[in-house]
Subunit: 449 residues, 2 copies
């Protein structure tokens, strides 16, 4: 950077501390490593499979949505034009199509008025966290390891997070109860608990039906909200589909976050939040309650006004072109992820199966879907080891400790398999095996010395 | 709203106070009035003229942008697809085209790396205000009356605003100095001053060249930043064009906010911020500074990740289809606004010219461009009067006091003329004249009683 003499000089210590967030800085490092070792097999890219994308589809979806406005909604030409080009309804204009998709795919009936279409699920998190944190007493609970996007949203929204343990079956409900109790003893107000019930990012963990019901019961007893984020449930590879928390929600305790990033496409930045909770106005207890969705929309009008009309129109057309079923729309991608998950689990088993009599020093979980598997290694899986792995063995992965806020996961690596071929997966696991052999040899040398 | 028995019940007093912001509630009322009186002539709609929009243009712009990626940037098919569909560069991918537009239209050279493409100018304000307010001492200065979007961004970002007086020539520099001094005496840190140098919303005021230079000099002396927002400078109806503040900025004091809402189209939600300020990293004074743009990008990655790829591609194609000149692209709209401004000023003169010998009790400013004229009325122009005006006389306008945060503008109305025809403008002014006559008669009755 060339700086002219006399230029104003700012210091990062004068900026909001979120700009220097460690989790974010780690993600920047990961991207940078991927750029420096382009030949490495990357198990770190969490993005969706892109093999079926076609730029021509965009114009087709736009045409479909235009026809829908004209023919189904019966809008005159002037209103069609306004829908595409002008500032629009803050809550968005594809809410009815989203409600239809939820009915078709999930058997869930929601009032379209309770949906706020957002600039990706990320904005929905920011709006929600901003709304739920009124003062320094409010606190949000979340399982650890946690999705890095939720951690970031909490940082920028100024929402304090309190960690809850996670097991193989997702969030640990006993620890959740403990954390709620402890927070209350400290004079804090636990407002909501964030969970990803199916194939969580980064752990791959899923909640059982019994735990889903128990979570809702606990939340009801404690009068806290449940924030459900469920982008991976479409990509089940085995076992029976389980209902979303929102589909089990009888008392409007669940705020559901929706995403099209893993179904339609990530770049659109279209997501949504279902917030059908009644909110009592200030002062007037007799006044009609307002939907939480309408309060979130007010915040949205201060952050991005409305979600991009052209992006909404593309997603609306995509839904219409697929009969408003994401299951149907993503059938091909789901097949790719199933194939890749099987290839990864097969590869791990064949590379890391211990010799007869030898102890197993590499283990992994076996999620029944999603995009992530977590491997536990016999050495610290930190940023230095990642760089060594990339430069010496040509394989990239994501150190899990980034998702623990420095409190765990030090021997774990997240392996993402969404954008690889089975051949790349086999090669990547083979290279990971060489890294493990190298580290085992190093330990033996140290032991011998 | 039908609420199931036993539903969780929230109170607005438990939500962040921004959800109950009075400025925002007023805007909701305005929209609601426009819906209730569809036959009224509305001088309250601030949106751009939509007569030249054509939905087919969207696909054309997408094609143009695709060809640009293939032929000019030389991207292989796979990378073109990724650009359109995947998560992308947080700072955006049309930064080079924006830099080209600024060179062509404004003679301004900026490093494309200092540009962050945002989800409309609104997100740029939120990111910037969030970044600049580290703790309770930090304060942002802004002229009053102020743009409601900036007020909203400050509320949601938790940035305290300190009001500076505005005159016919824009921000009052003497009062700015006074406010900076007063803030410092109170132990506060004035960080930046927000200004709209050309045809401000809502006042229509513009700064002279001398004042632009004096503002930069004052900011330099005081080591504060200047936040420039300039969406209306394209729509000049008379007088000579003046340079943007960023074009006069020799010491990187100016952070420039850009918008395509008034040029390409509002629904796209594509804007940007130029933030070429060097930021020194913490601790290491010898370390290389980082562009403020890169810190804003980190915050953006927590709010919306990247700006919608399809929206960026449409705006990129729009720029390319217009030789990267917004002046050229908006020539037809500019002509409409010039025609409408003349019709409004003519109408006001013919309806409100006082009879010979009578005092002038209605006055207005005469901006040389933009979309807004402010009328001062001989009675309070509040929300009740607006409703009376809509129901009895069929004319809507915007009470100016909303933009003063309750500290002024009580007799003023903003008249927006962007989406009307000259005939509607003449009719609207005639109706406004009847409202004034009605109020004059009421005063005479009261005086006689």
């Amino acid at each position: 950077m060339s700086i002219p003499p006399g230029a104003i000089r700012l210091s990062v210590t004068d900026l909001h501390e979120a700009v220097d967030d460690p989790a974010l800085t780690s993600m920047t490092l990961l991207n940078e490593l991927a750029g420096r070792y382009p030949e490495a097999v990357s198990f770190s890219a969490g993005r969706p499979f892109e093999g079926f994308y076609d730029v021509e589809d965009l114009s087709r979806h736009l045409r479909t949505f235009k026809s829908y406005l004209e023919e189904v909604k019966g809008l005159p030409a002037q209103d069609v034009r306004r829908t595409f080009f002008q500032y629009g309804r803050t809550k968005g204009f594809i809410h009815e199509l989203i409600a239809r998709q939820l009915r078709i795919d999930e058997g869930l009936t929601v009032d379209p008025e309770s949906i706020v279409v957002t600039t990706g699920c990320q904005e929905a998190m920011v709006l929600l966290l901003r709304a739920l944190v009124r003062d320094a007493r409010d606190v949000i609970l979340a399982a650890t390891p946690n999705y890095v996007g939720f951690i970031g949203a909490a940082r920028v929204a100024g929402a304090p997070l309190r960690e809850v343990r996670e097991g193989a079956g997702g969030i640990d409900l006993e620890d959740l109860q403990r954390q709620i109790d402890a927070a209350r003893r400290e004079g804090l107000r636990p407002r909501a608990c964030y969970v990803v019930p199916d194939f969580a990012n980064p752990s791959g963990a899923s909640m059982s039906l019994a735990d889903r019901r128990a979570l809702l019961e606990l939340a009801r007893r404690q009068q806290i909200l449940v924030i459900e984020d469920n982008p991976y449930s479409l990509f089940r590879a085995g076992g029976s589909p389980l209902p979303m928390l929102k589909a089990l929600d009888e008392h409007r305790q669940v705020i559901h976050l929706g995403s099209f990033a893993k179904s339609a496409f990530a770049g659109a930045r279209v997501g949504y939040v279902i917030a059908d909770q009644p909110v009592t106005p200030a002062g007037a207890s007799s006044a009609q309650p307002v939907l939480l969705a309408d309060h979130l929309a007010k915040l949205k009008s201060m952050v991005t006004l409305n979600t991009s009309t052209v992006a909404q129109a593309v997603i609306g057309g995509y839904l219409l072109d697929n009969g408003c079923s994401l299951k149907r729309a993503t059938a091909r991608e789901a097949e790719v992820y199933r194939r890749n998950l099987a290839a990864l689990l097969d590869g791990l088993e064949s590379v890391f199966a211990p010799a007869p009599g030898a102890p197993r020093d590499v283990s992994w979980n076996t999620p029944q879907g999603g995009m992530f598997v977590v491997v536990t290694l016999p050495f610290p899986a930190d940023d230095d080891m990642l760089e060594y792995s990339a430069s010496q063995f040509g394989v990239l992965w994501t150190p899990m400790h980034h998702f623990y806020g420095g409190t765990g996961g030090f021997h774990q690596a997240r392996l993402s398999f969404s954008v690889l071929t089975p051949e790349q997966i086999a090669l990547g696991v083979e290279r990971l095996g060489k890294l493990v052999q190298d580290q085992r040899a190093r330990v033996r040398l140290l032991d011998a010395a």
